[in-house]
Amino acid sequence: MMKRYGIVIVACICMLLLMMGATVFGASEEDDVAVIVNPENPIGSMTSAELRKIFSGERTSWNSNISVFLVVRAPRAREREVLLSRILKMTEPEYKQYWVKKVYNGEVSREPLTLLSNGMQLEAVRAEKGAIALISLQDVHQGVKVIRVDGRMPGAAGYPLH
């Protein structure tokens, strides 16, 4: 009887360890968040600092004389978490307050367009020349351009938006 319980306990522990291992080592390239722009935008890469300037509204035009059109996911989406924690280093309330101030100062004309799904983000980026958005790599499809961040494509080792 005791031997059977022992086997069950060992099996459970093994199962837990395997699941944990899969969680840790299974953080595949598909978990990366890609930066996408409209294919007509000539930009192909940018640094993390440039990305922060874009998503914080400090840079409002692309070099090609197209206005930047920010597209972000609604709260609780993974892309939103990556935007806040990796790029802007803000909490959700701080982000909201930041944009209220930004619009009120007249530095930008409006807050970023907030969308509920990655499909809607794709449509917005396809439709708007100056659009830029963050999207989970597994949701990237044709009609948008993925750009390099700090010289790396999503999925590559050392890609910063993970």
Binding site: I7, A11, C14, M15, L18, M19, A22, G26, E29, E30, A34, N38, P39, E40, A49, R52, K53, E58, R59, T60, S61, S67, F69, V71, K89, M90, T91, P93, E94, Q97, Y98, V100, K101, V103, Y104, N105, G106, S109, R110, L113, L115, L116, S117, M120, E123, R126, A127, E128, G130, L137, D139, V140, H141, Q142, G143, K145, V146, M153, P154, G155
Partner: protein, 435 residues
């Protein structure tokens, strides 16, 4: 033996299924519920969009029904980096798609304040506080902020303020009214009535008291019609933008306009306001926002105009130099600004200098609490424009509590030392909000 086999079978199944769970760890009931809700929302939005598009652009509906071929994520990155052959661009406006029609967008800011002071004799009431009262409530400024976008580059910005007087009546003032055109990052033009770039504070904090950490503005950067020392508004043209400077982040601001600054007497409410009758004013400012320390800004500005104050038989050249060093992050705020206001009487050649500065430091903790400390100093010696100011300096300590994203409660204690007048204390409480 059979049980042992069963256990190993379950184990094998778990091993096989674990990567899949990692790739999509959204099996919890809450996540499924949230996803279902999101699907319902999306369905509703798609239906609304389709109905709208079929009404406005029926010919586009068919082309949009053509679905993109799906591919695996990694392959799609390769495919996505290649431009597609179908025409893209601004044929469809996402704002229009999502039902955000062009029009006027409105936001508001307001506050209710209570102030108790022990000044002898009492000072004149400002920002809605009653004259000669040891304590009073005030609504202060009710601020309506309106914006409207014509295109992605052109917008109108308007700030209408219903300002409470010491008689607790309201006066309407158009504080800002601007037609803005963002040509490029290096040239952003504004035409209309603007808040001057004579100080960092005046450029960044406007009439919405919810936006600033403290209850009130430092005296030197208070709005002129509330007793402040700087010409806070003008009508004309303003341009700003980036100067190519790499990681230094150099920016410029240039303003040319006219104004008629009027400021009340701080000590005696029965004394008429000083009307400066300003001539054309020019402001030139430079500031850097280095990339290597986000939140740091260092800069300064130079303002010049010629004023002919009512009741003063002289023409006076007014030059205001300012310098600022600020470091602002969402959690930490450190503002430092210094001024030299120079009035030169042209008929006599006399110069009157008024140096001033303020410094404010605050840090947020526990997400909602923000204690702050401030020190301010103004020293006007004989300037005919500031006969009521003299030497004023003193510390401020306060606490801000953000109840939520819209409402903040502030408490602030000030001690003000004055030349030839008794020192006084005041305590202010403010409920500031946006709507």
């Amino acid at each position: 033996m059979r049980q042992t086999l069963a256990v190993w079978s379950i184990l094998a199944l778990c091993v096989c299924s674990s990567p899949a769970q990692t790739a999509d760890s959204s099996d919890s009931p809450e996540t499924v519920k949230a996803l279902l809700q999101e699907v319902r929302d999306l369905k509703a939005r798609v239906a609304a969009l389709e109905a709208k598009q079929s009404q406005s652009e029926p010919h586009k509906e068919e082309s949009q029904k053509q679905q993109q071929p799906e591919s695996s994520p990694l392959a799609s990155v390769q495919a996505a980096t290649q431009p597609v052959s179908e025409p893209l661009g601004q044929s469809v406006n996402p704002e229009h798609q999502l039902g955000i029609s062009p029009g006027i967008r409105m936001a508001g800011f307001g506050a209710v304040s209570y102030k108790v002071a022990d000044a002898h004799p009492p000072e004149a009431g400002q920002v809605g506080f009653r004259n000669s009262a040891a304590n009073s409530f005030a609504v202060g400024d009710v601020d309506l902020f309106l914006t409207s976008n014509f295109t992605s580059r052109i917008m109108v910005l308007s700030e209408l303020v219903f300002s409470e007087t010491s008689n607790q009546e309201f006066e309407v003032d158009v504080e800002r009214f601007l037609l803005k055109y963002d040509f490029r990052n290096y040239l952003k033009l504004s035409f209309g009535r603007y808040h001057t770039a004579t100080s960092y504070y005046n450029s960044v904090f406007h009439h919405g008291q919810w936006l600033q950490t403290a209850v009130d503005r430092p005296l030197v950067v208070e709005f002129a019609d509330h007793g402040g020392l700087l010409p806070s508004q003008a009508a004309g043209v303003s341009m700003t933008g980036e100067v190519p400077s790499g990681q230094l982040g150099l920016n410029y601001v240039f303003e040319y306009g006219s104004s008629n600054t009027h400021r009340p007497n701080l000590l005696n409410p029965t004394v008429a306001e000083i009307e400066e009758n300003n001539g054309q004013a020019t402001t030139l400012g430079l500031f850097v926002k280095p990339e290597w320390l986000h939140g740091l800004q260092i800069g300064g500005s130079l303002y010049h105009d010629r004023i002919n104050p009512t009741g003063i038989p002289f023409h006076i050249g007014q030059t205001i130099g300012s310098a600022h060093l600020v470091y602002v992050t969402p959690r930490f705020e450190f503002l430092n600004e210094a001024f030299l206001i120079r009035h030169q009487v042209q008929e006599t050649g006399q110069d009157f200098n008024t140096p001033a500065f303020y410094s404010l430091i605050s840090e947020k903790f526990a997400e909602k609490w923000r204690p702050f400390l401030r020190y301010q100093y103004v020293n006007s010696t004989g300037s005919p424009i500031f006969p009521d100011v003299g030497l004023r300096h003193g510390p401020t300590a306060g606490l801000r509590y953000d109840y939520n994203d819209y409402v903040a409660l502030k408490v602030q204690y000030d001690r003000t030392f004055r030349r030839l007048l008794p020192t006084f204390n005041d305590l202010q409480m403010q409920l500031a909000f946006r709507f």
